[in-house]
């Protein structure tokens, strides 16, 4: 993942541009706006969030007004409009998962990470938030971690502790 600061200009790599072109080709001529959501996902996967310059570059690429990108990015909850932790733990908070203990799991994550919902840990590694039903209600409590949106099911306090340790190891291995 590349990092990008708030006002830093964003220039897409050739690899990303190649992917964008592949996406645009899925729609009829003149309907390139349909590529907006898939491209925003690609951009977020690359930078971890959507900065204004990143959205402006997407607008330029798709020949849209910047506002057309902002209004979409602000509507859909998957898009982050400010920097997040390297790993964002998104825990389902909806009814069926609550029947099997999702509220306890969220409390545990809050205590374990020591930050409130939406905040980033001082080491920059983690943030967490409650999200709505992830279509995995039979395997609850569940959480997902982007950009691959890997699922972790039937969560317990122990499995959360292990997951957090594993992610720390993964981050340490990556920065070595």
């Amino acid at each position: 993942m590349l990092s990008v600061k708030e006002n830093e200009p964003v220039v897409f790599t050739d690899e990303m541009l190649g992917k964008f072109a592949e996406i645009v080709a899925r729609y009829p001529e003149g309907r390139q706006k349909s590529a907006l959501l898939p491209i925003l996902h690609e951009v977020q996967a690359q930078y971890g969030w959507l900065s204004v310059p990143a959205m402006d570059s997407v607008a330029a690429y798709l020949e849209l007004e910047p506002i057309e990108v902002y209004e979409v990015a602000t509507f859909y909850t998957m898009f982050f409009l400010k920097p997040q932790g390297k790993f964002v733990l998104e825990v389902c908070r909806t009814g069926p998962c609550c029947l099997v203990g999702a509220e306890r799991i969220m409390k545990h994550i809050e205590t374990r990470l020591g930050v409130k919902e939406g905040e980033v840990t001082p080491d920059g590694l983690f943030s967490w938030r409650g999200v709505e039903c992830l279509a995995a209600c039979g395997y609850g409590p569940v959480l997902q971690i982007g950009p691959e949106y890997t699922f972790y099911e039937n969560l317990t306090a122990e499995s959360i502790d292990k997951l957090i340790e594993d992610l720390k190891d993964k981050a340490a291995a990556g920065s070595r």
Partner: protein, 450 residues
């Protein structure tokens, strides 16, 4: 053992791959349709099958297809609704994960029937792993000549693409989905025009649920009449039910429509009974939007008949004493669950997911959430319960799309059937913070009403 049509080969190792799926008879429906049937023949078989939309509304699929406008020289589209965001529902994810080619095969057969040459599968964005699975399946099918130009030498062309959503429940509503697929905010459109006349890019469009599309495969293989032999009345065929909550065996089950609800909950073949040996308090039978029923009403209708897993039986008694099959998201509550808390949770969901276009929905869901929060946290008054009913009535039927109804029904039904539990939260505000109301009388047999 009940008959299975969609999940027959679910346990076969490697069934995710084209090769194994094909060995197990996969893509025969495409061969049969493209080589021996006209598009209208396919529509006719689907009509005969009695298949009803599996996305929640239960509209007959064949009839929907026959409404598709066919102006000369205008492309037509099939869009698969794989947004699956209705709380309690996780069957489409299951199908796409474990047997993706069933959807791809269904998409080819259905696109052929509708005369679509480009089709999209709109998958909720959180299902990135499933998106990758489908993309791989599409590549495999294309490689084998089942997609692309001149499929099986029939002269029929089809390209299939997967589109990710962005995490918005409203995009499951078909016109919001089309807006989203056009790269816009997911605001539902005012109907008419219906998508069948003006849908994606203003062209005639059919939107169908994943399971509806996958069901066309056995319908074409065995014929619509065979399919219609399964089930009862106007509930034909099999249905995927995703069962969750306080049961021993949560998961996705393919049932023959007509199975008694009691058997579904207690038999080891399905949910395996209530977890921890507890007693059943309530069920939301078809996804969070449908009315919640107490144990006594979900097992038996007010007439005293066994309640069955069919569109008709679950709806028996209307909203006074019945509910809906909906999306097949079956949520089971044990005796220790708090109905007030769950209602507040669901309402927070609808408030969060309202697109904000219509004031009754945008404001009303917020009001209901606040009032329910107050009652749940021990600060409610009796008048708040009536206020909730009043607000829910003012939302219902007064919005562009049915999200408003979907938000109103859970509140109205919870108060209709569990009013004393709400009242107890008012009179015992402090106590309600430390214990739940329990099972109370909700499982007591009711006097049959003729």
């Amino acid at each position: 053992m009940a008959r299975k049509l969609l999940l027959t080969h679910i346990d076969v190792p490697g069934i995710q791959t084209f090769e194994v799926y094909r060995q197990k008879g996969g893509y025969r429906a495409v061969e049969k349709a493209l080589k021996t049937l006209t598009p209208d023949d396919v529509v006719e078989e689907v009509k005969k099958s009695g298949l009803r939309g599996r996305g929640g509304a239960g509209f007959p699929t064949g009839m929907k297809w026959s409404f598709l406008a066919k102006p000369e020289g205008v492309p037509r589209y099939l869009v698969c609704n794989a947004d699956e965001s209705e709380p309690g529902t996780f069957k489409d994810r299951f199908l796409m994960t474990h047997i993706p080619h069933a959807l791809i095969e269904g998409m080819i057969v259905s696109s052929y029937a509708l005369g679509a040459n480009t089709s999209y599968i709109y998958v909720r964005g959180e299902m990135m792993p499933q998106i990758r699975i489908l993309e791989r399946a599409i590549a495999e099918a294309k490689n084998a000549g089942f997609l692309g130009k001149n499929i099986l030498g029939s002269g029929y062309d089809l390209e299939l693409y997967v589109q990710p959503g962005g995490g918005a429940y409203i995009c499951g509503e078909e016109t919001a989905l089309l807006e989203s697929l056009e790269g816009k905010r997911g605001n539902p459109r005012i109907k008419p025009p219906f998508p069948a006349v003006s849908g994606l890019y203003n062209c005639p469009t059919v939107v169908n649920n994943v399971e509806s599309i996958a069901a066309t495969v056995p319908i074409i293989n065995d014929g619509g009449e065979e399919y219609a032999k399964i089930g009862i009345e106007r509930s034909t065929g099999t249905k995927l039910i995703s069962a969750g909550g306080n049961i021993n065996k949560p998961g996705v089950y393919e049932i023959e429509l007509g199975l008694p609800v009691e058997e579904f909950i207690y038999s080891d073949e399905y949910c395996g009974g209530i977890a921890g040996g507890k007693r059943l308090k309530a069920v939301v039978a078809g996804g969070s939007s449908v009315p919640i029923l107490p144990a006594n009403l979900i097992l038996k209708t007010l007439k005293g008949d066994s309640r069955l897993m069919t569109y008709e039986s679950l709806a028996d008694g209307g909203f006074q004493s019945g509910t809906m099959l909906g999306s097949g998201g079956f949520i089971v509550f044990d005796e220790d669950q708090c109905i007030v808390r769950n209602t507040w949770n669901f309402t927070r969901f609808y408030h969060h997911e309202s697109c904000g276009q219509c004031s009754p929905c945008r404001e009303g869901t917020g009001w209901m959430e606040k009032v329910l929060h107050k009652i749940e946290h021990g600060h409610g008054a009796f008048s708040d319960i009536d206020l909730l009913v009043d607000v829910s009535k003012k939302i219902e039927g007064n919005t562009i799309c049915p999200l408003g109804d979907a938000a109103a029904w859970p509140v109205a039904s919870a108060i209709r059937h569990f009013r004393d539990e709400f009242e107890w939260h008012v009179t015992h505000g402090q106590e309600a913070q430390t214990r739940n109301y329990g099972l109370a009388h909700y499982a007591d047999p009711l006097e049959p009403v003729a």
